[in-house]
């Protein structure tokens, strides 16, 4: 993205500056040389355009295309609840890892400190990325996130004490545990 911005900025600046230079600074006796420079400039500009187009196509593969499909309100609520539990569960491990990391460094055990720092970074990145994707409405649009959501949903419904509406029916539980559907219907889900 930065490369693309740099490329666009350079091109825009060159398009602004070059005519100014050509009209005011460079004397008219040197137009023949300017013409050749013009050709070089436009050829370079064309090449830059092509490379930028190629880069944007390449970048489009990594930019979340999930923006095209928005989650429903129920899915968003489920994702926010998942994030809240993940956040609560992450507080204590993060604090303990920080303390142990400091202790390891103070005891000059730098390898252990590095491992703990890596785990801390991974945990923080996981939580922050989850938060970012939920806030942007992107969570639940790939297979990993979908499996996490389904695991969370089923795990939560096995716990008691939740308000009505979050309990999976006995029929559903029976279908998931025993009956693999024979008629090609989705496995274990009531339609």
């Amino acid at each position: 993205m930065w490369l693309a911005a740099l490329g666009f900025g350079t091109r825009a600046a060159a398009r602004l500056v070059w005519p100014l230079l050509r009209s005011k600074i460079i004397p008219s006796s040197k137009f023949s040389r300017i013409n050749s420079l013009d050709r070089v400039y436009y050829r370079l500009s064309e090449r830059l355009d092509n490379s930028l187009e190629m880069f944007s196509k390449l970048f489009a593969r990594f930019v979340p295309e999930e923006r095209q499909g928005r989650p429903t309100e129920e899915q968003q609520t489920l994702a926010q609840r998942y994030y809240r539990d993940l956040q609560l569960a992450s507080v204590l491990p993060i604090i303990s890892i920080i303390i142990l990391c400091v202790l390891a460094v103070r005891r000059a055990e730098y390898s252990a400190g590095a491992i703990l720092a890596m785990l801390l970074t991974a945990q923080l990145a996981h939580v922050l990325l989850t938060r970012y994707r939920i806030q942007k409405g992107l969570f639940g649009s790939n297979v990993q996130e979908v499996s996490e959501l389904i695991s969370y949903l089923i795990e939560q419904t096995h716990n008691s004490g939740l308000p009505p509406g979050t309990h999976v029916s006995n029929t559903y539980s029976h279908q998931t545990s025993t009956a693999q559907s024979f008629d090609g219907e989705t496995v274990g889900v009531r339609t």
Binding site: T72, P93, I115, L116, I154, P164, G165, S169
Partner: protein, 148 residues
């Protein structure tokens, strides 16, 4: 190719146990605790070779060996999505790979799968309602200073 950088990132971070933060924290704490225990035992029994050998190991080895033990039940047990859901996800993945769907279609398919699971939820009418929270709410409504 069904490539998604956020999914890849989740695989990488999930491999070090970030999906189960409490297990990760307990594993790390248990590793450090076991090292302390070994140190104490080595101090108490200076003639026992095993304790002395274990005492010579650095903290990193305790972390590497003991922390993954907390995830054995996750890896080999029935944690995570149930088998039916995993089969379903794998089937959809294969269909997506075969069908050469666009990214927007893939997203819609995954979202519809979550929607199906959400639709499968039903109110638990078998359990009796908890009357005390409801009574507390009603009593708050009748309190004269409730709005202030």
């Amino acid at each position: 190719m069904n490539f998604d950088i956020s999914g890849l990132w989740r695989i990488i971070t999930g491999a070090v146990g970030t999906n189960y933060p409490m297990r990760l924290g307990i594993g790390i704490a248990f590793a450090c605790l076991s090292q302390t225990v070994v140190r104490v035992l080595a101090r108490i029994n200076p003639d026992v070779v095993v304790w002395q050998t274990l005492n010579d190991l650095g903290t990193i080895w305790y972390l590497i060996i003991i922390t993954p033990l907390m995830f054995l039940t996750v890896v080999f047990g029935k944690r995570g999505a149930p088998e039916g859901a995993v089969q379903q996800i794998n089937t959809i993945r294969a269909l997506i790979a075969e069908g050469n769907f666009s990214s927007a279609q893939r997203v819609m398919i995954w979202r519809s799968l979550v929607e199906k699971y959400l639709n499968a939820l039903q109110p638990d009418l078998s359990s009796a309602p908890r009357l005390k929270p409801m009574f507390d709410e009603v009593s708050k409504d009748f309190t004269p200073d409730a709005g202030s």
